[in-house]
């Protein structure tokens, strides 16, 4: 039995437990322990990825298959293939970045051992989600992530957010109420989503008599009637769509992102949202393909609706963290439509957007979090203009993040969106008559993305220096620590933009196998 995957999952979970149980660990020691653990885990993840290669064979690499709950026929079945590998690497990288971020930057509230334990638990749970090949194990890993994330928002979140009364609209709460609202919203939405997904998973397990994902994927829906498949796919997709998040189930995300500390926002964007879309590709599509095909048009329409809706909301949003959250809704729309197209290129695009969005939004939250730490606000109007001259390094990082976010060719954001649109355009088998209109809407939504991200740069990066911060000694340019954290994200964004095959070659064959259109490229 290969111990690499269990070690990669177990290590952060064990250290998290240790940090919670052992009393009297100082803040500094906790952060150093957590960073060390995350660094070791990144090495493990890289080794595992190398060993799991090549990805052109059927079946996962590094498989672990042990009996776990014999009475239910549930097995501890883990493995890595081309679909999970990029996400495992992204998760491990983000785990290291968010723990290392705490080496120098303290969140505004709460002590660090607990926060570090939560971060590591999220990392471990996410890694388990991305490598599990059993429905029950997947569900448990999925749930494991929710609770620590809830704590991150509820205990370490920002409780000084000013309330936002609005003349002709429902006001946004502020302060302690905002934090409570965000945490509970996160918990309720995702817990309800998980419960719905569980129903779908149980339905599949009862009808087919197995919970093993490899067996289920090979069967491609065998043993389930068409109606059962539709019901199962609907339940699973609905549950996962809450996490993705899909319009109109997205309203938990903006508050969660706004309130969470910088590291929490980075993890939310780069890891948690990906669990939803990964589930679509890993479970919903292969397990009940017929059912998935039936609901694909609805999924595609809601995905693109989210892309337009999120983009338009960004055009008038004032809080930068909220704005990036809405832009996540827009970007995840591309993932949804790519998966719904059920074409290799659409799926490739969806998986590419997943990774690119994780890197880019991670970078944006890092920069915006650093801005918020300095200015104690993320309000575009209060932050004021002239960041380019006031804090040049920070300004350029923000500009790069925005350029990548608007899908500029040459940076990572471009390829995923292009392929998702290509897949949608050619995805008439699954999407029917909606395929081409959805593709055109997708292209138009990239223009909206340009508009709102240039608005951000117009509001704070360009323009004369804001006077109010001129004499504030706390406001300094990016530290070497922050630049070091941003560097891997910047490098990866540029590398994937120029050399997209770095990622596409990993996912390509796995996607073809998943759709049953043959393995190696002819």
């Amino acid at each position: 039995m290969n111990v690499l995957l269990p070690a990669m999952i177990g290590l952060p979970l064990a250290v998290a437990l240790l940090l919670l149980l052992v009393r009297g660990i100082s803040d500094g020691a906790a952060v150093r322990i957590a960073t060390g653990t995350a660094a070791v885990n990144l090495v493990l993840a890289v080794v595992a990825s190398v060993q799991a290669a090549p990805f052109d064979r059927s079946g996962p690499g590094l498989e672990v298959d042990a009996s776990w709950i014999p009475a239910l026929g549930v097995r501890a079945h883990l493995g890595m293939d081309g679909i999970s590998t990029p996400l495992v690497l992204l998760t491990a990288l983000m785990g290291l970045l968010v723990t290392a971020h705490a080496l120098r930057v303290r969140p505004s509230a709460g002590r660090l051992p607990g926060l570090m334990a939560c971060f590591l638990a999220v990392e471990g749970g996410a890694l388990a989600t991305f490598t599990s090949l059993d429905l029950v194990l997947f569900y448990i890993a999925f749930e494991v992530v929710l609770v620590p994330m809830w704590f991150v928002i509820a205990l370490w979140g920002d409780d000084k957010q000013p309330p936002r009364p609005r003349p002709r609209s429902t006001p946004l709460p502020g302060g302690q109420a905002a934090r409570t609202d965000a945490a509970w919203r996160f918990m309720l939405f995702t817990a309800v989503g998980s419960a719905i997904m569980l129903l779908g998973l149980l339905l599949v397990a009862l009808q087919t008599g197995t919970t093993d994902l490899v067996v289920l994927a090979d069967g491609a829906g065998a043993g389930m009637s068409h109606e059962t498949q539709v019901l199962a796919a609907s339940l699973i997709v609905l549950g996962l769509a809450v996490k993705a998040p899909m319009f109109p189930l997205h309203t938990w995300l903006p508050p969660a992102h706004t309130i969470a500390p910088t590291g929490g926002s980075m993890l939310l964007a780069a890891v948690l949202l990906k669990m939803g879309t990964y589930g679509l590709v890993r479970i919903a599509l292969p397990v009940a393909p017929e059912g998935f095909e039936t609901i694909a048009p609805a999924l595609g329409i809601l995905g693109m609706a989210g892309a337009v809706w999120g983009g338009l909301a960004c055009l008038v949003e004032r809080d930068l963290k909220r704005l990036i959250a809405f832009s996540s809704v827009a970007h995840m729309g591309f993932v949804l439509v790519g998966v719904a197209s059920m074409t290799p290129e659409g799926l490739q695009g969806a998986l590419f957007v997943n990774i690119a969005h994780g890197l880019i939004t991670g970078l944006l939250f890092l920069v915006v979090g650093s801005l918020k730490d300095r200015h104690h606000t993320a309000d575009l109007h209060v932050l004021g203009t002239g960041l380019r001259d006031r804090l040049p390094t920070m300004g350029w990082l923000l500009a790069l993040g925005c350029f990548a976010g608007l899908g500029l060719p040459g940076l990572a954001g471009f390829w995923g969106e292009l392929l998702a649109i290509v897949g949608t355009w050619g995805g008439e088998d699954a999407l029917g008559a909606t395929a081409r209109p959805l593709a055109v809407i997708g292209v138009v939504s990239t223009l909206i993305a340009s508009a709102y991200l240039l608005r951000v740069l117009w509001s704070i990066w360009h323009g004369p220096r804001e006077e109010r911060w001129r004499s504030d000694p706390d406001i300094t340019d990016a530290t070497a620590h922050e630049v070091a954290l941003a560097a891997p994200l910047v490098v990866a964004t540029v590398a994937l933009g120029l050399l997209p095959w770095l990622l596409l070659d990993i996912t390509g064959d796995a996607v073809r196998l998943l759709l049953g259109v043959g393995g190696v490229t002819p």
Binding site: G410, V422, W425, R465
Partner: protein
């Protein structure tokens, strides 16, 4: 050799720009040397490429970024080197080089904290821009071309917004990017269609298979590409960004908004000419757009008060000539006239803009009311300015004359040989434009060079200087050489330009019209001391000056509706979409409170519930049985 040279033209400026943007303060003092050296090397590589292509023929495939397996098609992100790319590369590299040298003086120094000159970032962005343009002209794959195309767009955003502390500059930058990106939506959809339908975006495959593809696809693709062309090349109705882009520093205007970026659209049509030939409708649309744009922009140029805006509108008009030239093509080898005008325009327009920068440097303003008498104060500069304007107006034997006449001849040839009404439209519009061009060029010369020196702007403007640094004047002579002599290419035309011919009757008319215009305007100005634009009725002049008020149309049709929609969405997100979850939460809370009432803690209460429950179950059992 050709392969290496082509690769170097792309890679050298890219490396220079990355190093310039990301190196720390230790290397800042070297930013100038670094930028100039990089652009000189790039020019050297481009010249070598021309030499290699002429000697050894084109190279069709040069590996750059590897193969991208999308699942439906394998895209090879390769370069190619042929006469078209090599000649345009020399033009781009030459202008970029001149601009880099010029900027060391124009933007040298550190500026003030509130108005920083940001020279290192500027030089690095110009290098990035050069690299992107080189990528466009060397791309062998349409997706790779799109990459260069958009990176060029973002570079121009950065350069237009260079003086971003000015509101007008940051607004112009956003406008330029969004309007061109609107056009690029077309290019993106075209690329998507080609990937799905043709399963390739390799340019050689597309050109070879243009006839085999379904007619509807080819027509749609060509029209969609034309949308991007109109955006990038500032053609009606997507030209609105270019006059505003004059907010960028003058060297930027010379580089981007005259010589290179706006030419990229025309370049794309020339590159994919067989594809456009397979779609008649697209070429007809291109001819109509070009006809409208050339005359409309020339008239708008006539009414401007700002020297840079005159030049900006003239760029729009001249690029329309290029587009008209390629749209008159009847065979795959017919790109000659358009490309020839592209090359000569690059030389004389870059020179004109750089001279405008020199004049601004001396006068402290870009408004022509503050200029005048340059002939007396700086004869050399005024002679150079005269040469540039004469080339623009198409006065023989300067470069602009030859290239413009080849375009008009192509139109005449097409009109006579079944080109239909579109060709006649181009011909008539081209002749009228030639007349108007002569008029506005002479007007600009008269206002800037003749008459008396006028008082500087009251607020001091951008600062008045007494002499011009040699870095700024030197490059003008360099650009003057091709401006005067490029016509010599007609003696021994390379294969690329073989289709560029001049027919005598057309050329005679096309020369007499601008000469007449020039003579009339100079007569008015010298003898009667009247500005020819004053002859226009006031309201009409204001209408022309505002660019036919198309900005207002754009604002009313696009900007304001989108903003209103965005406000509705933002409110709807809280009030409608989120009402469901909030309602559920309130309902659950209310339910909890109601149920808590039941938990009274009194045994009698519970027994009552128990009995009621038992009764209910019993009744239900009886009924259901």
């Amino acid at each position: 050799m050709t392969t290496t040279a082509a690769l170097l033209t792309v890679i050298i400026p890219a490396v220079v720009s990355v190093l310039g943007l990301f190196t720390g303060s230790r290397w800042r003092p070297w930013a100038r040397e670094w930028a100039v050296l990089g652009s000189l090397t790039c020019l050297g590589a481009a010249v070598l490429e021309v030499y290699g292509v002429l000697a050894d023929g084109p190279v069709r495939q040069i590996t750059l970024l590897g193969e991208v397996d999308t699942g439906i098609a394998v895209l090879s992100l390769d370069l190619r080197a042929d006469e078209l790319s090599a000649f345009v590369a020399v033009a781009v590299a030459l202008v970029a080089c001149c601009v880099q040298i010029y900027s060391t003086a124009y933007l040298g120094g550190e500026g003030t904290p509130d108005e920083p000159l940001r020279y290192p970032a500027f030089a690095a962005t110009v290098s990035l821009f050069t690299s992107a343009m080189m990528l466009v002209i060397h791309a062998e794959d349409l997706v790779l071309l799109l990459m260069g195309w958009e990176i060029m767009g973002i570079s121009s955003y950065l350069l237009i917004g260079h003086h971003s502390e000015r509101d007008s500059a940051r607004a112009a930058a956003v406008k330029a990017f969004l309007v061109t990106r609107f056009g690029d939506l077309g290019v993106t959809i075209a690329v998507v269609m080609l990937i799905v339908t043709a399963r390739t975006t390799a340019i050689r495959d597309l050109l070879a298979r243009a006839e085999e593809l379904p007619q509807s696809t080819v027509t749609a693709v060509a029209l969609l590409l034309l949308m991007g062309v109109a955006g990038k090349s500032a053609q009606f109705p997507l030209h609105t960004w270019l006059p505003d882009a004059m907010e960028g520093p003058t060297p930027v205007s010379a580089l981007i908004h005259a010589a290179t970026m706006v030419a990229a659209g025309v370049f794309l049509v020339a590159r994919l000419l067989p594809l456009f030939l397979a779609a008649d409708a697209a070429l007809t649309v291109a001819a109509v757009i070009a006809s409208i744009t050339m005359l409309g922009a020339a008239l708008a140029a006539l009414a401007q008060d700002d020297l840079k805006r005159v030049l900006a509108w003239s760029t729009i008009s001249q690029v329309a000539y290029m587009l008209a030239g390629v749209s008159m093509a009847q065979a795959a080898t017919d790109a000659g006239p358009g490309v020839f005008h592209l090359l000569s325009h690059a030389a004389f327009k870059a020179m004109l803009f750089l001279i405008a920068g020199c004049v601004t440097h001396l006068v402290g303003s870009t408004l022509m009311v503050h200029m005048g008498g340059l002939q007396r104060t700086n004869l050399k500069l005024s002679v150079l300015f005269g040469i540039g304007l004469a080339a623009l107006a198409g006065v023989p034997p300067l470069s602009g004359f030859w290239s413009k006449e080849t375009v008009l001849t192509a139109a005449e040839h097409s009109a006579m040989h079944g080109g239909g009404w579109a060709a006649w439209l181009v011909l008539v519009s081209g002749m009228l434009t030639a007349l108007v061009t002569g008029i506005y060029a002479a007007r600009a010369y008269g206002l800037v060079c003749l008459g008396d020196r006028r008082p500087p702007p009251a607020d001091g403007g951008h600062g008045v200087h007494d002499h011009l640094p040699s870095a700024m004047t030197g490059v003008l002579y360099v650009l003057a050489v091709p401006t005067v002599l490029l016509g010599l290419l007609m003696v021994h035309p390379p294969e690329l330009l073989e289709s560029a011919e001049i027919a005598l009757p057309t050329a005679a008319l096309g020369t007499l019209l601008p000469l007449a215009g020039i003579a009339w305007v100079l007569h008015l100005q010298v003898r009667c001391h009247r500005d020819v634009a004053d002859l226009l009725p006031g309201a009409f002049r204001a209408f022309l000056r505002s660019g036919y008020r198309l900005d207002d149309v754009q604002d009313a049709l696009v900007v304001r509706p989108v903003k209103a929609l965005a406000r509705v969405v933002a409110a709807g997100d809280r009030d409608v979409v989120d009402a469901g979850p909030r309602g559920t939460a309130s309902l659950a809370q209310a339910g909890g409170i109601a149920l808590r009432r039941a938990q009274t803690g009194l045994a009698t209460g519970y027994v009552t519930w128990l009995v009621a429950g038992a009764l209910a179950v019993g009744i239900a059992g009886v009924v259901l049985a």
